[in-house]
Symmetry: C2
Subunit: 127 residues, 2 copies
Amino acid sequence: MDALTINEAAETTGWTPRMLRYIEELGLVEPPRSPGGYRLYGAGELQRLRTLRELLDGHDLGLGDVGFALRLQRDDALRGEVDAWLLSQPARPEHVDADDWLAWEQDKHERLLAEAARRDTTLEETR
Amino acid sequence: MDALTINEAAETTGWTPRMLRYIEELGLVEPPRSPGGYRLYGAGELQRLRTLRELLDGHDLGLGDVGFALRLQRDDALRGEVDAWLLSQPARPEHVDADDWLAWEQDKHERLLAEAARRDTTLEETR
DNA sequence: CAAACCTTGACAAAGTCGTGGTAAGGTTCC
DNA sequence: GGAACCTTACCACGACTTTGTCAAGGTTTG
């Protein structure tokens, strides 16, 4: 048999069985099941579990962060809105007077709202 | 004066002053300061604070989620690694036998590692 | 068939997040 | 100069997340 059950997979990946179930619950690694319902971890799953650990350790992330990234990847509308909001972030020019950066800011914001609207459905803002 | 102090900004955006400081701490909205250190919220900040609320309410996100998205946007290496990991997700073809999808999986993984490597070497300053 | 493994579900300890409050002190501006 | 506002730095608390563990029962396989 070339697929491992959950305890074996835990053994070789360094996760606990509990965490493997949790990771599956987050949609991060979802192994196929045996006819009787046992999780069967193949080479691909094992590989992803190991790289997942590296990813988390290397950047001080949590599983929830990766779960959120997954959500962003799968939900186009959400990703569009988040990206638009983030791009409206200043990265404020250093030496401009107040009126200038304010205009620049608003202009940028309008461009982004337009993009979000195109990409998505309704993005409505009222003052 | 065309910039609001923190309590005024809280008033018009619906956040509490406490939360405005927290939001700044997360790097989400960082208003400029007066010479004496007072936060000064201009039109751009106020707008972003209002859209931030919509974003959160509309999709059941947390501030931490948006903070992570910000991190992803600013750290190219991190974004590359997360994207590569996510793309190695199966979206597994339904009816293929074990050997086939395993090969497909590994092939895909290699492509993604290659892409991540390319992206990393193309790192340049965004601002 | 029986030992060893797996399943789901629940409860619980520990940690983090979002939020409020308060204290000690600096800034604005009338 | 003094009232009203702001700053940072804490402590606190409820809600949620992360992780462990246990119980009752189904699966695999020698």
